[in-house]
Assembly symmetry: C2
Homo-oligomer: 376 residues x 2
């Protein structure tokens, strides 16, 4: 049976990875970063899958980032030993971090306040452990973090260092890079990330504080950086799949997108020339990341079952289990028959994948299924 | 241990049902509809839980609606025997519908085109079965359905009836009622739903076609209808939890909302007076249903752990695992300490619940856990 026939035997909607594109995307960032002599630390919050991680990480000692303690626990259980939990830590989550350390996992945490630093130092003292800790640096005012020049950086560094906590380094994320309008802005965002992280590292080491790791990253900046001097590792997640937001800022083309939702046509409105599909926001997510971009892609672009984009079509509306496809131009959408399978390219791969418990994974000959990690 | 202490022992983020509010909301719609002598057919796409359905449905013969075949299968497995799958049917899904019928479940389907009617008639002939089928009526141009006056209604009715398919009735949903701005508009939307469904039923029966069930409904119209003459059943789903969208159109108050996401404070940005929480869009969903309402509630309103709304606070931003709380006014948000648990009221209960695999359920004395149905 052909892959197309095998896909047609699966009840829609379901999530599909185009494996050749997925592998090409992984190889592309590896190659791009090679000349910079930095370590790539993939963010597993996008793939959230043990089977998928095998393609992203070389071996169990390969570095990775996670966005939940649950991810850390599941990947650790699978054998991965080098993880960063890159969301601000609080006391509540420290016992689970300690349990991972005690299992032999090198798990590092992140913080940006004296209150957090004191909580971690107290916990380490009480538990007779040392948790590797990153200081979060603010490079673009996007969310949290400490400005590299802020005296608070040294103050927090001292609380940790004197409290017996292992200062692992500094970490920053150019969240604003997702809003960049052109290549120059992307290069500037990457340089902003680098400069902030390196400045923070210099300021820490000048005060005699350790800072072995200088970690930067986001998919847009990882794909745009022209200089990574002083940086030791780059983090990125959505580069594995790409999505319409990344295509909109020019980091990839829509043809590179490796993730889609396979859906079936379930109806047609002749008055409005609307095609209904069985992928609503429950399957596509409500991410409308392209809404503020130059070209709004609605809830996603429409491809045939083989992944070829059908020009002019997009998912313009979504209810819980209904998507509405419209067309720019004169084409009569009733030409696309009931039960026809289509692939929908997502605005934001992380958000769309989050709506599903797993992926079908297809290449020219094989169809596989990978489970996704859920919960916290 | 008090309920507050027990909640504090659960790792955030998690979904919480305030059980007294949930039960009061269920009782309120039952009481409201009682004088109309119509059947209430709750939509289980909101609760998606067997444990939860026990509170919504009287017994295994109680009528219910589902939004996926998976829901139908799981509720049937639990014993429920009277289900409507209220998303346009296609040939692909008919074998699973037949399997349910063969298990003794009275499951009805929905369609609005000759192509679907022919597919169902052919399937019934080939499988020697008769699937109870609703004709979807368009009452407000919101999505799909046939206009009550459209000759297509009779044409499709005849295809089904002559093809040996059981014509169960007509079904409509005032999707536009979610956009209503005031009580009068809600009453008008309810009357539009009723009038369209009744007109369609009259047109079918005049042509000698059966139409035993006249089904209307949405939470806004179910809570607003002043006349249900000719209607036999009312469907509603989100009335069990309510949410900020429903509060925004005046169908409930924010204090009635029974569903929230419990989250912890994980950081603070002193430059911006931003409080960070560990509930991003992965826990809250990206539903921003109040964005187009008179008052935009961001990603949700903020309550203390006991469910009391904290005036002026809302979740204004959300990344994957970070939420950003801002305040209107001068209050210094750093007063809310690290690790403090908060409850976030959702824009759209269906969407927020969909991000979780289950609910914690609390009343004054008991803490329970209900699983949610996932997938399709």
């Amino acid at each position: 049976m052909s892959i197309e026939q095998r896909l047609q035997s699966i009840d829609t909607p379901f999530l599909l990875i185009d494996k050749p594109k997925f592998e090409a995307n992984i190889a592309a960032l590896r190659s791009r970063l090679e000349p910079f002599k930095v370590q790539l630390r993939p963010h597993l919050k996008t793939i959230k899958s043990i089977e998928g991680a095998r393609h992203v990480l070389h071996n169990f000692d390969s570095p990775a980032v996670v966005s939940t303690v649950r991810e850390a626990e599941v990947f650790a259980q699978a054998g991965y030993k080098n993880l960063t939990y890159a969301v601000g830590i609080t006391a509540q989550k420290l016992p689970r971090i300690l349990a991972l350390l005690n299992q032999g996992v090198d798990i590092s945490i992140l913080l940006d306040s004296t209150a957090q630093a004191q909580a971690v130092a107290e916990f380490c003292l009480a538990s007779n452990c040392s948790i590797p800790t990153f200081l979060e640096i603010d490079c673009d005012g996007h969310r949290g973090g400490i400005k590299a020049s802020d005296p608070l950086l040294i103050e927090i560094g001292n609380i940790l260092h004197q409290g017996g906590v292992e200062l692992r380094g500094v970490l920053t994320h150019a969240g604003e890079s997702y809003e960049c309008g052109n290549k120059q802005a992307l290069i500037a965002a990457a340089e902003g990330e680098r400069a902030a992280a390196v400045e923070a590292a210099v300021n820490l080491t000048r005060q005699g504080l350790p800072c072995p790791v200088v970690s930067v990253g986001s998919t847009p900046t990882a794909h745009s950086a022209e200089n990574l001097d002083g940086v030791t590792e780059v983090r990125a997640g959505v580069y594995t799949f790409f999505d319409l937001v990344m295509a909109g800022i020019g980091v990839c083309s829509a043809e590179d997108i490796a993730l889609s939702v396979v859906t079936s046509v379930i109806g047609y409105n002749p008055q409005k020339n609307w095609l209904f599909i069985d992928a609503g926001w429950m399957a596509l997510s409500q991410d409308r990341g392209t809404r503020t971009q130059e070209i709004d892609r609605g809830y996603g672009l429409v491809c045939d079952i083989n992944g070829r984009i059908i020009p002019g079509l997009q998912v313009s509306g979504a209810n819980q289990e209904h998507g509405i496809i419209t067309v720019s131009g004169e084409r009569d959408l009733s030409e696309i028959a009931l039960d026809t399978q289509l692939r929908i390219l997502p605005n934001h791969a992380c958000a769309t994948a989050a709506m599903h418990s797993g992926y079908y994974v297809a290449d020219a000959n094989e169809l596989d299924y990978w489970h996704r990690i859920q919960g916290w």
